[in-house]
């Protein structure tokens, strides 16, 4: 009897706390994406760049680990019985990836563009017979290219 009550409490806790955290996170993500709009992010490797303006290029990464809550896990295991889209995990994946991408961009604040961006996802957690997943890790990595501004002159010694 008490086990049912405990399950109910955990589910309710998971739902309310989880959806509050999710809304907050999404608002933060959207705000930061809007702010970072100017700097292009692409999966392409070759973009025409003015060679004389390239200052440096380096690998940057960003990662985020988002955890599952009780409510989502319950929904997912119910879905496992009947089949179909596991809607409760979709927002989790989305948030983790967008967060990882944003962190990658934030780690290179002066960059002009990001090339060859790749995103990897994996699950972290105890894999006992009863657990599905404990948390999700998303990692975004790419090459950040820093271009000098147009009116800046080259610091190297020019011809006399």
């Amino acid at each position: 009897m008490y086990d049912l009550v405990i399950i109910l409490i955990l589910t309710a806790l998971g739902y309310f706390a989880g959806s509050w955290a999710e809304q907050k996170h999404y608002r933060s993500i959207e705000k930061r994406e809007q702010a970072m709009l100017k700097v292009p992010v692409t999966t392409m490797k070759k973009i025409k760049l003015p060679r004389e303006r390239i200052e440096k290029a380096c690998l940057v990464t960003g990662s985020a680990v988002i955890s599952v809550d009780y409510f989502k896990r319950l929904l997912a295991s119910l879905r496992n019985i009947f089949g179909g889209t596991v809607a409760s995990y979709e927002s989790l994946l989305d948030r983790a990836r967008r967060e990882a991408l944003l962190r990658m961009r934030e780690s290179a604040p002066g960059a002009s563009l990001f090339l060859n961006v790749r995103i990897e996802t994996s699950t972290i957690g105890r894999y006992s017979a009863k657990r599905n997943i404990a948390s999700l890790e998303a990692m975004a990595y790419g090459t950040a290219v820093y271009l000098r501004k147009k009116n800046e002159t080259h610091a190297a010694p020019a011809q006399p």
Binding site: G83, V86, Y89, T121
Partner: protein, 119 residues
């Protein structure tokens, strides 16, 4: 834009081209909009899981799961295309896929690429 409006728009426009190379062969990229992605996670029902466990004994192709993965792929790609159309692109280049096992008996697929406009 509502779902219906987007579908109408998709019907009127030419189909979006996808490649996983840098360019669309024969066309020229004039504008790029940024990263677009589509992700999905689908589960198969209990019957298919049971069949899969039985198949574990005898070996062979798990047709149920193959179908599940291809459905996931279709849905993820469709979502990515919708995002690109939303941005006003007509092609996606350098498309990459990534899968991960997120839950037991569920397939997760992630497709991402750069949305561009070609002419």
């Amino acid at each position: 834009m509502t779902e219906k409006q987007m579908q109408n728009l998709a019907g009127r426009r030419k189909k979006i081209v996808l490649t996983n190379i840098e360019t669309i062969p024969g066309r020229r990229i004039v504008e790029h909009f940024g990263l677009v992605s589509g992700s999905t996670i689908r589960a198969k029902h209990l019957g298919r899981d049971l069949m899969a466990s039985l198949k574990n004994l005898v070996g062979g192709e798990l047709k149920g799961y193959t179908q599940l993965l291809s459905e996931s792929r279709d849905q993820a790609t469709r979502r990515m295309i919708r995002q690109a159309e939303d941005m006003g692109a007509n092609a996606i280049v350098n498309v990459r896929f990534s899968t991960s096992s997120v839950a037991q008996g569920a397939a997760e697929l992630y497709a991402y690429g750069t949305a561009v406009r070609v002419e």
